[in-house]
Symmetry: C2
Subunit: 321 residues, 2 copies
């Protein structure tokens, strides 16, 4: 049965001053989780958008609030970049001169090779860079969308560069464990390949089929919407994810995405040929094989075993039926 981290409980502070740059779904969830368990003595939030940081303040997500990332990092023991991947290099350059010697810099980007390449050169000596990627999220965006249990029993992948300070890596691991995550360490290159298949290509094909459906003439948009319960609506959840974040993922993990997409296309061509030729046995074999993977995901506690993702019970709760 699954090893389950049943959620964070009160802990000793891992850091004195923790600064989060970017108060969206992930940044605001880290803030909530860290404060809930007491993993930092103070939580500083920054967002380049005045409006977003005011919403974070209204939600009481941190101890202090900034629109200037540079001001926000002053005195921080750890700084976590929670911006879209495409904005990280600029933020790193901006905050670098203000970082405290010995501070740890981390991030939550869905791409690691490009982030390491973009951030590393900006950081002064004596600052430790420990890139991280919590494999968690929802299709929603903004500080209101976050919640403290987002990382519970999810994996957080750390990709420390060669020669990284082991103690810094350990402290980042301790932080993520404190807020409920399981931690794994791998190289940035391997991370990017793994996530290309478990996340990036699935998003790409979801965006793609929703786009295809929207552009049809023979089937109206109203029909697509009405009859979406046949399977299509699952794809629309993923295809409702943040456009800026996902644009940056594809621009910054080009090679691995194109590699995995190439394999997906090869397999789809073979499947297309089976349909054209009426190869029922080939179709049945594939459709049987794929069931095992889901069983594995449910068994390790990465997925609810409730049918239909538990939508039915969610709806019943909602409607009081």
């Amino acid at each position: 049965m699954a090893q389950r981290n049943l959620g964070p409980s009160r802990t000793e502070p891992v850091f004195d001053r923790l600064t989060i740059i970017g108060a969206g779904l992930i940044g605001s969830s880290i803030a909530r989780a860290v404060r809930k368990v007491g993993a930092a003595k103070s939580v500083v939030l920054a967002d380049a958008s005045r409006e977003v940081i005011e919403r974070a303040r209204a939600l009481n997500l941190g101890d202090s609030y900034f629109t200037s990332a540079r001001e926000a990092v002053v005195g921080a023991d750890i700084v976590i970049f929670c911006t879209p991947v495409g904005a990280i290099a600029e933020v790193a350059a901006e905050v670098a001169p203000a970082l405290k010697p010995g501070a740890i810099v981390s991030d939550v980007g869905s791409v690691k090779g490009a982030v390491v390449a973009a951030v590393g050169p900006h950081l002064p000596g004596g600052v430790h860079f420990v890139p991280a990627h919590p494999v968690a999220g929802t299709e929603q965006s903004g500080p209101e969308a976050g919640f403290a249990s987002l990382f519970v029993n999810r994996w957080c992948i750390l990709t420390p560069p060669e020669g990284a300070d082991a103690r810094a890596t350990q402290r980042v691991a301790t932080l993520w464990t404190a807020i409920g995550a399981n931690v794994e360490v791998m190289t940035p290159e391997h991370h990017d390949l793994v996530l290309a298949i478990t996340s990036h290509v699935p998003h790409l094909i979801a965006y793609n089929i929703v786009g295809t459906a929207a552009d049809l003439e023979a089937v109206t948009r109203s029909e697509v919407i009405k009859f979406s319960a046949g399977g299509f609506r699952d794809f629309t959840r993923i295809a409702a994810s943040d456009p800026t974040m996902w644009r940056d993922v594809f621009l910054n993990n080009k090679d691995a995405v194109l590699e995995m997409l190439g394999r997906f296309n090869e397999d789809l061509t073979a499947l297309q040929r089976m349909i054209r030729r009426g190869d029922g046995e080939g179709l049945f074999d594939l459709f049987t094989r794929t069931r095992a993977i889901r069983r594995g995901i449910v068994e390790v506690g990465q997925e609810t075993e409730a049918p239909d993702f538990g939508r039915q019970s969610a709806n019943e709760a909602e409607e009081g039926a």
Copy 2:
């Protein structure tokens, strides 16, 4: 706001004797729903598998139970084929001689053109054929997987052949409405095109990417499973659907599936080129456009608006957290 059918309530019987051939997810859900609201005076269940029909009996799903479809239809006012599409022609041929004059024959197949062509020729004159497709289901199979509210606020599409008896069509519509569904009428050909994009191609690409992920060498199966929360696990739900049912769908809706798959592939090639060329604007445009479709689906009540399909709340309920 959405028109919602908030669920079936007690009704006058629409039929005296209703026979369901095939006691799987859909057949057993119809039995439960019909008995719950009293839409038939008696519900007869048949399944070619002795073991399945005994499970249905143990669940007390009907008033009588048969392994012989021919025996089960004797005296029935309506017979609903709930077998995989590929088995319907054989079942129709088997039961035809035993059908009561004036009886209605219907089905629940996900493909309509091929079903009309396969069933029609077997039915004797005076028997009314009203093909139906309730667009509802889960990834689970078998009589235990069914539930009475499966069709609530889902669409049931009727595709009566030209010249069909209007009263028979109306009675089938009344039955589906009684168990909570919304009814729409269209031609078999249009149905097959609509479902190709809202259901069949989504299933095909879900099966395909799960197969692709299972076959990789550079990324282990254990990694695919652990890091599936990044998006991949959504696809595994669909790819865990019944293999026989889905083999039959693709064999029997070949033309529409290949047509829609062709469009999907064209669009994917364009998207691939955008990534290769680093066309961030093109990616952002598509990713923004696709959000609207999901909003539409939530607005018409075909989807929960809870983030992550409400999985979080399903898990919390499960864990008492």
